[in-house]
Symmetry: C2
Subunit: 229 residues, 2 copies
């Protein structure tokens, strides 16, 4: 919740217990929530355990309003890298992509087509706070593509149907790294619109990497190349 | 199960349904299981749904014996990279590490201390078959370190307590990439034994990457460097 508060997000409801840690950050958070018109509610250890899903009476639970942003609100020059997920179904993958995006200095995660809810419990947990530091956009491909082409952008897709090695490409900011659905990958009509289509070498029996893993390897490769220049 | 069969592993029990796909690979698998003294059992769609956890009557379910190997059985020169996980608790992370290991051409995954079960359902699912292609060793640090030092090896650890950038290092085969527990990272007494201790640049608010993600970025960096030389 510290990341959230620093990023300007306060819970609308904050649940605590009488035995909660009286850390200065928690006290400051409670004061901020009340000052912003939110509620601070003290519950029993038993209810906290149900709310948090953990046997830890030190826990506090905050209920936040979800905060998607619109494509038009995005300043693409604010970051060298943006992550794009297409029809991503696994909330753990989505949350992990947010966490990786924060680490690699991406501006945000653009969710195309029917992705799982980035504000669901599992995605938020996997994001480790990055759900508050990364811009999150939910849109359709038909909105995304015209917006992308209305300014500077390099759209990079990963695919098994290419011979171009991911370490043999020139990446330019703002670089949009697009990863497709866990089972199907990117639709062909989408990869056809990519400025660069790359593959990662696969040395084993499997023909693909986990979607969040592939995104992370790509993002660190792009960032590594940019900082060497 | 195709990966398993190719790697020489057959299920001891194979459950199918009367309506199962009669793909030649499935028929060949059934024949192999029977020839090896195993059982092929036809069940109702309802039982298959319970067994597989999926509403898919085309599914088949195999019960395999787990197949850990001993350190002494490992030929470290058989692969340029080996992954080492210490006290890894999340089965999804462990399975994903196996999948990544297969992709990057690692020889196997060495589990140190109390890791989650690599042969549990969630880890096996996340491994996407790599549980059969990667050697899996379970041992204690006190066994691992003497074995490691009994031959050629570079032990690489990731840590926040170092200034050495992961792209500014010389990696040599066989390279053992060690990743610590999701919450605690590697114990200091372990990092003290590493030949190289590196960190990945973190540009955001968070101070760490998901353990499976960090391992994958490291493994592809090491492999990328090796193939350039």
């Amino acid at each position: 919740m510290t990341e959230a508060r620093e990023a300007g997000y306060l819970p609308e409801m904050l649940f605590t217990t009488a035995t909660r840690d009286d850390h200065p950050l928690i006290i400051a958070l409670e004061e901020d929530v009340l000052a912003a018109g939110g509620d601070v509610i003290s519950v029993s250890a038993e209810i906290m355990s149900k709310l948090s899903g953990k046997d830890n009476a030190q826990a506090i639970v905050g209920i936040y309003r979800d905060h998607p942003v619109q494509l038009a609100q995005i300043d693409r020059t604010a970051a060298p890298i943006w992550l794009v997920a297409q029809a991503m179904r696994d909330p753990g993958n989505l949350g992990t992509m947010l966490r990786t995006g924060d680490a690699v200095g991406a501006g945000g995660l653009i969710l195309i087509d029917d992705c799982t809810d980035p504000f669901g419990v599992e995605a938020v947990r996997a994001s480790m706070g990055a759900v508050f530091t990364q811009a999150i956009v939910q849109c359709r491909w038909e909105e995304f593509l015209p917006w992308l082409r209305s300014g500077e952008a390099q759209l990079v897709g990963t695919s098994l149907q290419t011979e171009i090695d991911y370490q043999n490409c020139q990446y330019t900011a703002p670089c949009f790294i697009m990863t497709g659905n866990e089972a199907q990958g990117l639709p062909e009509s989408y990869t056809a619109q990519c400025d660069v289509l790359v593959k990662m070498p696969m040395y084993g029996k499997a023909d693909s990497l986990n979607a969040a893993i592939a995104t992370a390897i790509m993002a660190y490769e792009v960032r590594g190349q940019m900082r060497r220049e």
